[in-house]
Symmetry: C2
């Protein structure tokens, strides 16, 4: 199964029609999140790098045409106009790691209409999933308030691929390590992990398990102390750690129970045993809320490992994102029905210190003192720069988070920043709405506030 056929069928049926009608004029699609989920004061843009990889290699091969034809119960000859299609358009996007808000385009693609349409599903898939997970993970880093956070999510992510991405996104938002060996190697970040409860159970005693582990691993070790009785496990760990003298870097891990209280007692036991350098790692269903509560209660926990709830962004595992046509053949377009009105035209986001972002038009003059967030990252189907490294994304995020209002950064009931629209975008939206209404609903115009546009001619057909 190629990436090209990993698509919704309707991208193919639409592209076939566009090609048949010779509708190959440039189209611009805008990918944005309509609303932030509850519990999010900001989102972290992510998924662009894999999306650009996909666009760079996109090409409809004969096997893809055959798969499309089979899905449509038609002979491959009927789809031959699709053969060889690549993506040779332009992409403007917000680089990974920037903080973003509702309505801000994460990515805009401009390409001949069939091409820009065919890539929709995959782009949404990448950007929705990764932005959702990165946004959750970033909140864990905030909650830990400077203490290291480690990714333990692989066993719970939606497949192994999502596990690799969870580790990448953890690194991007500031995690210090991952349990995922493949991801650690690929990203150049530390791998973390020592033993499970089953390890302790496989030996005749907890002490024998710890000793055996130390025999196999000459460096610093971490002992899991809650297989039987946690306080006893801490004492056993202290005894073995005292004997083996592995120096700094050793730790104990607590994985169940009242982590704050157990950590306080463990700290006392370790300190009394002359082991103040032995760290305490906590894990077990932690998310940003649990971490924040432990930090608030001054639990002596040195490292937080988060897995299950973070790797799947458990409280917001999807985003309400859309990939909307905003311009075709030079004509701005928009959707009017129900509450899902889209804004027309190619856009830019202008970030202003201490004030909400301005969503404006790509070609308008930036308001003074603002930073435009979208960059041209692909031109004529080629990346304009080498793949972005996660280290740069991490630096962007640190910068953006420092500039966030405290109300957006807070863990409990955050209040997201609401971007405003530039005057130029407001005017374009109003004009296009008037044009569509005069074209489709001339009878409404007497009562419409867009009445001034009543005499405006509908735009020429494409």
């Amino acid at each position: 199964m190629s990436d090209v056929t990993t698509t919704d069928l309707y991208e193919v049926t639409m592209a076939m029609s566009y090609l048949r009608e010779d509708m190959r004029a440039p189209a611009t699609f805008s990918l944005f999140v309509r609303d932030l989920p509850p519990g999010r004061g900001f989102l972290v843009a992510a998924g662009l790098e894999p999306a650009l990889d996909f666009l760079s290699r996109y090409r409809v091969e004969p096997g893809d045409v055959e798969a499309f034809a089979a899905a449509l119960h038609r002979p491959p000859e009927d789809l031959e106009l699709l053969l060889g299609l690549g993506f040779d358009g332009e992409v403007r996007a917000i680089p990974e790691g920037h903080v973003v808000f509702a309505g801000e385009p994460l990515l805009e693609a401009t390409a001949p209409l069939p091409q820009a349409q065919l890539v929709e599903t995959y782009l949404l898939n990448q950007l929705c999933h990764q932005t959702a997970v990165a946004s959750k993970a970033a909140r864990c880093v905030l909650a830990a308030a400077g203490r290291p956070v480690v990714d333990f999510s692989l066993r719970r992510t939606h497949g192994p691929w999502a596990g690799i991405q969870a580790a990448r996104l953890g690194a991007l938002v500031g995690f210090s390590a991952t349990s995922n060996v493949a991801a650690a190697g690929a990203l150049g970040i530390p791998a973390s992990g020592t033993m499970a409860h089953s390890y302790v159970e496989a030996f005749s005693s907890e002490e024998e398990a710890f000793r055996a582990f130390a025999r196999a691993h000459p460096g610093p070790v971490t002992f899991l102390v809650d297989t039987y009785d946690t306080d006893e496990g801490v004492r056993t760990a202290a005894r073995v750690l005292t004997e083996i003298r592995r120096g700094p870097g050793c730790a104990i891990r607590l994985d169940s129970g009242d982590l704050g209280e157990l950590a306080r007692r463990a700290r006392a036991t370790l300190d009394a045993a002359g082991l103040p350098e032995v760290r305490i790692v906590a894990s077990g269903g932690l998310d940003e809320y649990a971490v924040a509560e432990l930090v608030r209660s001054r639990a002596p926990i040195d490292v937080y490992a988060v897995g299950t709830k973070v790797g799947v962004a458990a409280d917001a595992p999807y985003l309400d994102a859309a990939y909307k046509l905003v311009e075709y053949d030079g004509r701005p377009v928009m959707k009017l029905s129900s509450a899902k009105v889209t804004a027309p035209g190619r856009k830019q986001v202008f970030r202003r210190p201490g004030q909400p972002d301005v969503i404006g038009l790509w070609d308008e003059d930036p308001p003074g003192g603002t930073q435009p967030l979208l960059r041209t990252v692909m031109s004529e189907g080629r990346r304009t720069a080498p793949p972005d490294r996660w280290e740069y994304a991490r630096a962007r995020l640190a910068h953006d988070i420092a500039a966030l209002p405290a109300s957006a950064r807070t863990i409990d009931d955050p209040d997201p920043v609401h971007p405003v629209r530039s005057r130029a975008l407001e005017e374009l939206t109003s004009r296009v709405r008037g044009e569509i209404e005069s074209r489709f609903f001339p009878e409404r115009l007497g009562a419409s506030r867009s009445g001034g546009h009543a005499g405006r001619k509908a735009p020429p057909p494409p």
Copy 2:
């Protein structure tokens, strides 16, 4: 990145220690879900087939050893005992499609301890994710009460791999089609999809868009009618459908607004136009709750397309699953700490008509009239039968759901079935608990109800 390195590092550190200590005796691990999430009256076992594929091809190659060594900052020579390890054990499991409940082993693996440990992360990853998604999807089929359900989830799943699996799991639970071209081809199920709002917007009018679509697609067509004004869109669709006379199989799709009310008006318009055979498809953020409400209100919707919330199992995107050591070298073991007590020994699940399942021991005599759910699916590292087809899993699920109590099947506030434990399992649990307590906490025995075991000798070290 190989599947072998897509693992938590601790599997590797534990396996290294086991090999160093020559602890290669058979170990049995049990994979089960501790508790059902809220909103689930049952789970659908899924993920076994990809898990068996993984086990069948598992082998630690030199590149994997190098990746492990890099993660541990050790020379590859230190890990050479791992080289060439495969999985040549036995797997007993509940086939995909069976309904399962809390505490029931989905899978038990018996293999030399290092092997059985190394595969933990991947097995949990597969079974947790897929059982979570299948369970959500099965509820959508129940809610639709016989109407076709279609998978539209690819744009929201956690990566493209998860999208392929979502389509597979949809087929398994009874969906009639998927929008995912690659999955449709691989599974031999219908692909579904026609047009997006952007398609309508790219033309000078809705009517022109519908006509162009019909020109490109000679068979039955589905027109999306809510780009501008839905009632007007339905009238336009009716006009074009009347002209093109494509016969049965044509449809309109509603994707926003009050779907029930819009469907009623659309049905009236279509019927008045002499198009009673044109079906109404509903989509747009649907899950089992929304589908059930529409069905209850007798909305004239013929097909439900579900995506976002189902593909990520939005209200329960993970399961509280564990992979626990239950036997090592013939000695049953268990974990005692906190609330996460595990039951020792190799297990079987006995299903009884009209009564809760019995969780018992693998080798105990089945109670009369019961069906044992776990089968030996792998022996000496090889599948005991060809890969199971999703069609068989679908049949199993249909059978099991028909036998469920209504309280477990209901959409709102379902009440899961609570399995009971067999007498043999209760006795083994009590005995092992007593042995562990006498070994670790002799001082507690005076006050313990397991006092009868006080004189029992701790089992010999492995």
